[in-house]
């Protein structure tokens, strides 16, 4: 979706403000919101792309005015409510009012280290052949889905070069909607700064995105 999350090249956000000796979390509730989000993925039954879509799927003015853990937390709430795992009345009173729904699996303390260590690799075996090879010139398609995509607006319609054929990976545009993993070839595509930002922009800049094959066409 062309939402508030797609920030590359937008103006007016000011300077970067690094915080010296920044703590990992800035408040107790951030810790709990973070951990709840990680712990609920398995019982909630959603994947990382559904989670990302839940965070970005709100009016841009809201997206930009919320802190990152607020985005995480309200996305978690939304995903839980969508799946009838929690109701609003329960959050209001702060207690379970309805019987739990059966869930696949919960995260026990004994599993935490192993689950984190295993992670969630997204590379998949394939019997297809990559359409592009290193050095090929490609154009990022001009697509504007209202659903989740990982092709940022600032490269759409622009011509770049395949720098690396990464492998066949879960396709977020499908995975986010529940349409399945639909693995696709993934490439690192490098663009010259002036191709993205126009004549007169810094020619020493090169920018790459990692783009799945359905995002690309030969140029």
């Amino acid at each position: 979706m062309n939402g508030g999350q797609d920030l590359g090249g937008t103006h007016g956000h000011g300077q970067v403000a690094p915080e010296p000796n920044e703590p990992v979390f800035h408040a107790e509730w951030e810790k709990r919101a973070f951990a709840l989000t990680l712990a609920m993925a398995r019982p909630g039954g959603w994947n990382i792309d559904m989670g990302r879509f839940a965070r970005e799927n709100r009016p841009p003015q809201e997206y930009l005015s919320m802190s990152y853990y607020e985005l995480w937390f309200y996305a978690l709430e939304a995903m839980l409510k969508e799946r009838d795992l929690v109701d609003d009345d329960e959050i209001v009173v702060g207690h379970a009012l309805h019987p739990p729904k059966p869930v696949k699996q919960t995260l026990s303390p004994g599993d935490v280290a192993q689950v984190l260590y295993r992670g969630g690799p997204t590379e998949r075996a394939t019997d297809t052949t990559a359409k592009f090879k290193t050095g090929d010139r490609v154009r990022a398609k001009n697509i504007n889905p209202v659903t989740h995509t990982r092709l940022p607006r600032y490269v759409r319609g622009r011509v770049g070069t395949i720098e690396r054929v990464i492998g066949c990976h879960v396709f977020p545009d499908s995975n986010a909607t529940g349409a399945g993993e639909n693995p696709q070839w993934l490439y690192t595509v490098r663009f010259d700064g002036p191709e993205l930002w126009g004549d007169g922009s810094d020619p020493s800049v090169k920018v790459s995105v990692d783009a799945w094959e359905p995002y690309l066409e030969p140029a």
């Binding site: 999350q5 797609d6 920030l7 590359g8 937008t10 956000h13 300077q15 970067v16 690094p18 920044e22 990992v24 979390f25 107790e28 509730w29 709990r32 973070f34 951990a35 709840l36 712990a39 609920m40 019982p43 990382i48 965070r55 970005e56 990152y68 937390f73 709430e77 839980l80 795992l85 329960e90 959050i91 209001v92 379970a96 739990p100 919960t106 995260l107 303390p109 599993d111 280290a113 984190l116 260590y117 295993r118 969630g120 997204t122 990982r150 092709l151 940022p152 990464i166 879960v170 690192t188 993205l196 930002w197 810094d202 020493s204 800049v205 090169k206 920018v207 790459s208 990692d210 783009a211």
Partner: protein, 210 residues
């Protein structure tokens, strides 16, 4: 951090708490009562990223690459198993690529669409990495961003920005500072800052350690 804190929270005067804080507490209680989460597992998740996983991991990787040419070659060829040799792997680091800074090329990593970051080697991202100023400008004006960090590079140095739009996570291998010949990996690791592994900074010089 222990599970007992949860009971303690409810003793606070709620008027001091924001709407979001109240909702987070409420939701944790509901999810716990329903048996969906175990607060002890939440505590462990938090402890992992507060105490165990952080940029010291990445600094070890970089220091080893500086000190050991064979390791450096393995890291640049296929970073995920090379980093795994030091015991670092998993969530948000399933597919890692190491990017070598040279006098001719400086690498900088961003996620314009969200907050993708190589957790096993750098921990959780700082606020600025997730915020609009960095995400908007890193791809369009990386030299300006470097200025915000107090870094100026020669005009003819290529600035190579990597937007982490997929599940590939990028770790910058900063240049080894001069005057560190013969240093141990442990001492070299003290020169490696978090920002130098994102590409918004450079490694410290020996005189910075004094």
């Amino acid at each position: 951090m222990s599970g007992h804190d949860h009971d303690h929270h409810h003793d606070h005067d709620h008027s001091e708490l924001s709407e979001t804080e109240l909702r987070v507490r409420a939701l944790e209680t509901v999810l716990t009562e329903k048996g969906y989460v175990d607060p002890a597992a939440l505590d462990l998740l938090i402890e992992t990223y507060e105490k165990k996983v952080g940029p010291r991991n990445g600094a070890r990787v970089v220091a080893k690459a500086w000190a050991d040419p064979a390791y450096r070659a393995r890291l640049l060829k296929d970073a995920t198993p090379a980093i795994g040799e030091l015991g670092y792997a998993g969530r948000q680091g399933e597919h890692i690529v190491a990017l070598e800074n040279t006098p001719a090329r400086h690498n900088m990593v961003v996620c314009t669409l969200c907050s993708c970051y190589p957790w096993p080697v750098l921990g959780l991202p700082p606020v600025w990495y997730k915020a609009a100023p960095y995400r908007s400008r890193a791809v369009a004006d990386p030299r300006g961003v470097l200025t915000d960090f107090g870094v100026t590079l020669p005009k003819d140095t290529e600035i190579r920005v990597w937007d982490s739009t997929a599940e590939i996570r990028y770790l910058v291998l900063p240049m080894r500072p001069a005057g560190t010949e013969g240093w141990s990996e442990k001492k070299l690791a003290e020169l490696v800052t978090r920002d130098s592994m994102i590409g918004t900074g450079l490694a410290k010089r020996p005189e910075d350690l004094a």
